[in-house]
């Protein structure tokens, strides 16, 4: 079984649009996993029907019993995360380290489990999809990404699928690392701008750090052909493969509004994505 992750560094470069189209091209052979758990959009195109729901337990949080609390302030002093003020815990800042329970002289603090989101196994028109939602403002999105990946692995084994197709999140931090570790190929989306080029270099560093082969795709390449050239030159210098580029096309937004992938509508981008898929298949 192979795993392909679509990531980007910079946000808004077309990860989800690309993943949805690849899901359509890989119909019948892939399980799709939406690992952009704190801004998941893939469901807007794939329209999953939920079959199974799982609770996601995030980090524990501390709770102070006001009856037992003597307001000595030791917990506030010991907390490294600035999560305790006026003898109350801010659950959004608490990282569940339990240090406050150690220093409290009156045993007024306990740790409580909290459901921080849900993970789902669903049916779509292209096959099974695993996805999740993290309750707004929750922590441990990397842990939820790992849960989605574990579930998609089990589903792929059960359904005897050869590929897991993962939609990643922007950035280079914990949810991104949780999305790319152990995958076979990272398709890295970027755009021909100063920001896109800068962020691409950093995400390629992350892929290299975790030993994942990267393939780069420049979205809207014709908006700044000179910058596209610079990006391609950079990739060649770094020995990173090019998967082919996508042209700017206002039809992309129209397809999104009608809930369709770009290979389900006529247009130049759909053809470009088919050729990107051919490049990926060769690598897989």
């Amino acid at each position: 079984m192979k795993q392909l992750v679509v990531i980007s560094g910079k946000g808004g470069t077309g990860k989800t649009t690309m993943t949805a189209s690849l899901a359509s091209l890989a119909e019948g052979v892939a399980v799709v996993a939406d690992c952009d758990v704190d801004a998941p959009d893939l469901h807007l195109i794939l329209k999953p029907e939920i079959r199974e729901t799982f609770d996601f337990l995030g980090l524990q949080t501390a709770r102070i019993d006001p009856e037992k609390c003597t307001e000595c302030g030791e917990c506030e002093k010991a907390c490294r995360f600035d999560a305790i003020h006026d003898f109350r815990v801010d659950p959004r800042s608490c990282e569940g380290c339990k240090v406050c329970t150690l220093v409290c002289p009156s045993e007024a603090i306990t740790m409580v489990d909290s459901v921080s989101g849900h993970a789902y196994v669903s049916e779509t028109r292209f096959g099974t999809m695993v996805h999740a939602d993290l309750f707004p403002g929750e922590e441990a999105s990397g842990k939820l990404v790992t849960m989605v990946r574990d579930l998609s692995f089990k589903v792929a084994e059960r359904e005897k699928k050869d590929l897991i197709l993962i939609d990643g999140s922007p950035g280079i931090g914990c949810p991104v690392i949780a999305s790319i570790t152990g995958t076979d190929i990272a398709l890295v989306m970027t755009e021909p701008s100063i920001s896109g080029a800068h962020d691409l270099e950093r995400i390629l560093g992350v892929a290299e750090h975790f030993g994942v082969e990267a393939l780069v795709c420049v979205n809207k390449f014709d908006l700044n052909p000179e910058m596209t050239d610079r990006i391609e030159t950079l990739c060649r210098k770094l020995g990173v493969g090019l998967a082919g580029n996508l042209p700017f096309d206002p039809g992309v937004v129209e397809a999104m509004i009608s809930g369709k992938t770009l290979v389900e509508v006529e247009g130049p981008v759909g053809d470009a994505i088919r050729s990107v898929w051919d490049q990926i298949k060769k690598k897989l």
Partner: protein, 277 residues
């Protein structure tokens, strides 16, 4: 006054708004808290007086001579960052949150704390715009401690915070303590869905918010209908034009070339001030 600029969905124009707003109003501190992919400083190529220093987090340092391998530290660690073997103790440093709990529970006093760099903090100046940003080291998972340290360096009377995308802990850390949050979106189904999550976050944090619609003219009416229903003011619309997109792609602030926008961004600040009052 602290104004943060956030979005939910990535690539909607947070940095576009923050940088052009800062350049238009002047005498401001622009704090880039998107430490995974900081970009705002790229739009100020004339910046001077650039200085940088390491941002570190605390990690345990174990004195193997004093350690009796009792295992209390590893038992206590909520992040599975310590593993105790008969011969030694292993620290998985990327998993450590630096809470200091292991040093507290160690009965032998064998654990002290050292510092581990996770990124860099930069300062620079471009005219009367003071730039401050953090850059997370590649391969480092935890952005939140760096965001916290970057914010602690901000000292101006007027602070603009460029937040990371998403709606999870790095965003919370970035917008916490803001007087107002500008939510930048695009009028598409993806933009709308992620905006609605971002609105839940800032409302729960009791931070007043308003919307900037970027790339207006594309997409559908969803974002506008939503804002009307939720009673969220749309404070500025930036149209989808090739010129703005091209200037952005070349790293040029569009309000410097299309100067009528300086007034519009100054007006945006006025509307925010009005809303806070």
């Amino acid at each position: 006054m602290i104004i943060s600029v956030a979005s939910g969905k990535g690539g909607t124009g947070k940095t576009l708004v923050t940088t052009n707003l800062a350049a238009s109003i002047g005498d401001v501190e622009l704090v880039d808290c998107d430490v995974e992919e900081p970009n705002s400083y790229l739009f100020f190529p004339d910046r001077e007086e650039e200085v940088s220093f390491d941002c570190t987090v605390k990690i345990p340092v174990i004195d193997e001579d004093k350690c009796t391998r009792c295992g209390r530290c590893s038992e206590f660690c909520a992040y599975n960052a310590l593993a105790v073997f008969p011969q030694n103790v292993l620290l998985f440093k990327e998993l450590c949150h630096g809470c200091g709990g292991c040093a507290l529970v160690c009965p032998e006093g064998a654990i002290s704390e050292g510092a581990r760099p996770i990124g860099k903090i930069f300062r620079a100046r471009s005219g009367d715009v003071r730039l401050l940003w953090g850059e997370l080291n590649v391969g480092e998972p935890m952005a939140t401690p760096l965001i916290r340290s970057v914010k602690a360096e901000a000292k101006g009377n007027l602070i603009l915070i460029d937040s990371p995308p998403g709606t999870a802990c790095p965003v919370i850390e970035a917008v916490r303590g803001s007087d107002f949050c500008l939510l930048v979106t695009e009028p598409t189904p993806f933009g709308l869905y992620d905006l609605s999550i971002a609105v839940q976050v800032v409302r729960e944090m009791e931070i007043p918010c308003g919307v900037v619609v970027n790339r207006s003219g594309i997409g559908d009416r969803g974002v506008y209908d939503y804002c009307e229903k939720e009673n969220i003011p749309i404070l500025l619309e930036i149209p989808m034009t090739r010129k703005i997109a091209e200037l952005y792609s070349r790293g040029i602030l569009f309000s410097r070339e299309m100067t009528e926008w300086q007034e519009r961004f100054a007006g945006l600040l006025g509307e925010v001030e009005e809303a806070i009052r």
